[in-house]
């Protein structure tokens, strides 16, 4: 039975804001003996109000939320520096918080002395730290400076030493609070790699950040806090989507994100911006209101509609849009290029369409501004009205194409004498730190007939695979997944971006046969911690229901094809473990076969399907009914679905 590393049960934390400190020593003496209770007027503030969640050992949990949502309070409770007002917090293992690196450093002591002092604050003995000293010095790259007083260190050196000490302590549960927001890029990479190693070693990591990108890259699960309550909890990507979807809704109870005091948030003239929509290609102004958050693929053109409302005729109006990435990086800013218009009373909209934007996968927000009386963004004038982050766009693709901000299509030209070499692609070290370990520990019998595995794309004319956000390839009639042994249908192994274009892990299916989909209801309550029957399969449990992995493949069925073939196996089988995986194969929703897989050998299976008159695209779903756990007895509780090698029609 795998362990829960951290569990919060209905944790509440009250702060008392005292008004006026005109208290006498007499009252003070009384207060001391009454447990710090104050007299007189005071305001209460619930920083956390009934927070419940649990983290399994070995998983990385992201905690997201706006400023004041209670993240820091939660961390302080977890780190033990504060006590909850009510509720319980259980931590199985040694907790250490990177709340502030180098918190215990004394400026007059040398780096070496501070290593021991800081280690002592973290409960490590002198002898222990002595053993790790060389490692710490090497990681922090402070060999020449280690005997200098740390007051002469730069802040970067301080950080490096602090991080090195913190990691060397090897806690079971690591709490990371925004520490990666500082430091130079090279060291940040090093820290991320070190955290990935810690993760691979099975440590539980709680990661608090404002950076949705970091959660997306790094976390398995996420908890979204809003005003001291859990808004959503579950797989990181789902929670993140729910979170980002509301950053644009200015509804009740939600604080709009962005600079808290945007001086241009109030219209200064008789015209106001009322909203920004992302439109599909060709959509016009008469389209009814759409969901503000939209998905685009790299290279898609963006069509943005800026809605406005005019209360009396205005002249010399120009508009501007700005795009930011992950709430930070300024990606694009453009105005109406000197063109100014006079607008009559009423509601209206301007639409701006870009060329294809080769933006890297990420979350983008669109802001809009307007200028009056001939003022213009191009002249650097302040806007007369601005809507910050009025819409958000998720740029997604089934495959990571590039690193960095841009994901353009690339063409590589090799010299003539270069020979093409086939084989499994090298794993991305951070996105999938466990793939290597898994392969070495539990090899799956390699498939002999490698010749069969070459992908063959036989569709004559390019068509789009339905449901894919990244629409690059026409649906093939035969699809081969990877060349390695590490292609599993299940979360936690590969980010969805890492799957090949034509097969996609689409999320979880409710055990009771609920609908497909990966979005978490924003109002969903967190997993019920009181659930005593913590089944080994509830790794993907959201609001108490068990959810199982589903993969979707789009294939083209030709006129002559009458059967669907799949080559798959139960991953990670052991001789002493006869636990079978059960999967259901469906075509366009209708079941065509059910398989019980007991062996870790890739085997082809075929099922008859309805023939068609003209080539058409079919949707094949592979639903895991009964997955296996990677390590039922140990701490790694991720579930393995099924290893898919090949799907085809014949």
């Amino acid at each position: 039975m795998a362990r829960v590393a951290v569990r919060c049960e209905d944790v509440r934390k009250r702060f008392v804001i005292r008004r006026g400190r005109a208290r006498t020593f007499q009252e003070a003496a009384l207060a001391l003996f009454q447990g710090g209770q104050a007299f007189g007027q005071r305001d209460e503030f619930w920083a956390l109000d009934g927070v419940s969640f649990s983290v399994e050992a070995g998983r990385t949990l992201g905690i997201i939320g706006r400023n004041g949502a209670g993240k820091s309070t939660l961390l302080k409770l977890l780190a033990g520096t504060m006590q909850p007002t009510s509720g319980r917090m259980i931590a199985n293992g040694k907790v250490f918080g990177l709340l502030e690196l180098a918190a215990g450093f004394h400026p007059d002591l040398s780096g070496r002395e501070n290593v021991f002092l800081n280690g002592a604050f973290l409960g490590r003995s002198h002898a222990d730290m002595a053993k790790r000293l060389d490692e710490i010095i090497a990681f922090s790259e402070l060999e020449q400076f280690i005997d200098q007083p740390v007051k002469h260190y730069s802040s970067g050196m301080y950080m490096r030493l602090g991080f090195a000490v913190a990691l060397s302590v090897e806690p079971d549960i690591l709490i990371v609070d925004e520490v990666l927001a500082v430091g130079d890029a090279a060291f940040r990479q090093k820290c991320l790699a070190a955290l990935a190693t810690a993760k691979a070693q099975g440590r539980t990591i709680l990661f608090v950040t404002h950076d949705p990108g970091a959660v997306r890259r790094f976390c398995d699960d996420a908890v979204w806090l809003e005003r001291g309550k859990v808004q959503a909890a579950g797989p990181a990507l789902d929670v993140l989507r729910a979170y980002l979807a509301t950053t644009t809704t200015h509804g009740a109870g939600v604080v709009p994100e962005g600079p808290p005091t945007d001086p241009y948030a109030t219209p200064r003239g008789p015209i106001a911006l009322t909203g920004v929509d992302l439109l599909e290609k060709g959509e016009g102004t008469q389209t009814p209101f759409r969901e503000a958050r939209t998905v685009r693929a790299p290279g898609d053109a963006w069509r943005m509609r800026l809605r406005y409302s005019v209360s009396e005729p205005v002249s010399g109006v120009s508009f501007g849009v700005a795009v930011h990435r992950d709430g930070g990086t300024y990606v694009l800013g453009a105005g109406t290029s000197g063109a100014r218009y006079d607008l009559p009373v009423g509601d209206g909209a301007v639409i701006v369409t870009t060329e294809g934007l080769p933006l890297a996968p990420g979350l983008y927000s669109v802001s809009a501004g307007l200028w009056l009386d001939g003022a213009s963004p191009d002249d650097g004038d302040p806007p007369d009205h601005r809507l910050t982050r009025a819409a958000s766009v998720a740029v997604e693709t089934p495959r990571i194409l590039t690193a960095g901000l841009l994901a353009p299509r690339l063409a590589w030209e090799w010299p003539e004498d270069a020979r093409i070499r086939t084989g499994p692609p090298k794993s991305h070290p951070i996105a999938q730190p466990d793939a290597t370990t898994l392969r070495l520990a539990h090899p799956i019998a390699p498939h002999e007939n490698t010749l069969r595995l070459a992908p063959s794309v036989t569709t004559p004319e390019p068509r789009m695979g339905r449901g894919f956000h990244g629409r690059f390839l026409p649906a093939p009639s035969r699809l081969t997944v990877g060349g390695g042994e590490d292609e599993f249908l299940g979360p936690g192994w590969h980010a969805p971006e890492d799957w090949p274009p034509a097969i996609r892990w689409t999320g979880w299916i409710d055990e009771d046969g609920g609908s497909l989909g990966s979005s978490v209801d924003a109002g969903a309550s967190p997993a019920d911690p009181a659930d005593a029957t913590y089944s080994p399969l509830d790794a993907g449990s959201v609001d108490g229901r068990r959810r199982l992995p589903v993969g979707t493949v789009f294939l083209t069925q030709d006129e002559w094809a009458t059967a669907l073939g799949v080559t798959l196996c139960r991953p990670h089988a052991r001789a002493d473990d006869a636990d079978p995986v059960i999967v259901t194969i469906r075509v366009d929703g209708g079941p065509v076969g059910r398989l019980t897989l007991g062996a870790a050998l890739l085997e082809p299976y075929t099922f008859p399907i309805e023939p068609v008159d003209t080539p058409r695209e079919i949707t094949v779903t592979i639903e895991v009914e009964r997955p296996v756990l990677l390590d039922p007895a140990g701490t790694d509780r991720r579930i393995l679905g099924v290893a898919v090698r090949e799907v085809w029609v014949e």
Partner: protein, 282 residues
């Protein structure tokens, strides 16, 4: 494990007697922190000074010089070997004053730590007390041979010296814990403490003999009052008895001993009771 602060196994803040064991187990677990903080204190104190540790003896020596000049020249004292007499009082007093004023600031001065890292909060005042104690013991190690050289006479009672020191440590620790906690909630503590320590200094026979206090002053027996209520008065006298005069101390020392136990218990209890709120208040 005591290192698990949020498992519910951490020592509760209710100050019950049953927690005493877990308090000490937790402190034991963090003994290296205590050691590091003490050596940090000592290292930092003399790091940039040319004379280093010598100061902890030089300081009372210079004070002794001042008192000797003032009280032998201005108002001659009948005390035999007055410089030794003053020094034997100054050293324990400096330990007390240094430890208490340092410990009072220990929690507030480390607010950044309280907020960020869990460790038993007692460590902070305790480390100050221990650092001052180490200092005191080192200066005694220099003082005792000096005293012998200058004509002090010892008998078996010199072996009672550790007991006297222990009683002072209990008193100092109790008060330090109490004030360290109080200072978190009321920063006036630091200010009041300065005055209080000065007053206490004059009520303690550091540079005069306890017997000089009047038996009759406005109808009050000041001597008896100080002797009973000020444990330091008895203790300073005891230090002199064992280190200078071969006088037995048993008769005098029961009351300071009881006061010491009471202060230690009350101080520790009060500290633990409010320690969980430190992170919110500092």
């Amino acid at each position: 494990m005591p290192s698990d602060p949020i498992s519910g196994e951490a020592p509760s803040n209710k100050g019950r007697l049953g927690d005493v064991v877990s308090v000490f187990r937790e402190l034991w677990h963090y003994r290296d922190l205590l050691r590091s903080l003490v050596s940090r204190d000592l290292a930092v104190r003399y790091r940039r000074s040319a004379l280093g540790f010598v100061w902890s003896l030089l300081n009372p020596l210079l004070m002794m010089l001042v008192f000797t000049i003032v009280f032998q020249v201005v108002k001659p004292q009948s005390v035999r070997n007055y410089p030794l007499f003053v020094l034997a009082g100054m050293l324990p007093w400096n330990f007390l004053a240094g430890a208490i004023s340092g410990a009072t600031r220990s929690v507030t001065g480390n607010a950044h730590l309280i907020d960020k890292v869990y460790f038993p909060r007692e460590i902070l005042p305790l480390s100050v007390v221990i650092a001052n104690l180490v200092n005191f013991l080192l200066s005694l190690a220099v003082f005792l041979p000096l005293a012998l050289l200058l004509g002090a006479r010892w008998n078996g009672w010199i072996f009672a010296l550790p007991l006297v020191i222990l009683i002072e440590v209990m008193i100092v620790t109790g008060i330090s814990m109490m004030l360290a906690a109080l200072n978190v909630f009321y920063r006036d503590t630091e200010q009041v403490l300065e005055v209080a320590l000065t007053a206490w200094f004059f009520l303690t026979p550091v540079f005069y003999e306890l017997e000089l206090l009047p038996n009759q002053f406005l109808g009050i027996d000041v001597w008896r009052l100080v002797y009973t209520l000020n444990p330091m008065a008895t203790l300073v006298t005891d230090y002199r008895y064992v280190m200078l005069y071969e006088t037995p101390i048993i008769r005098h020392t029961l009351i300071p001993f009881l006061i010491g136990i009471a202060l230690l218990g009350a101080g520790w209890w009060a500290f633990r009771r409010v320690a969980p709120a430190f992170a919110e208040e500092v």
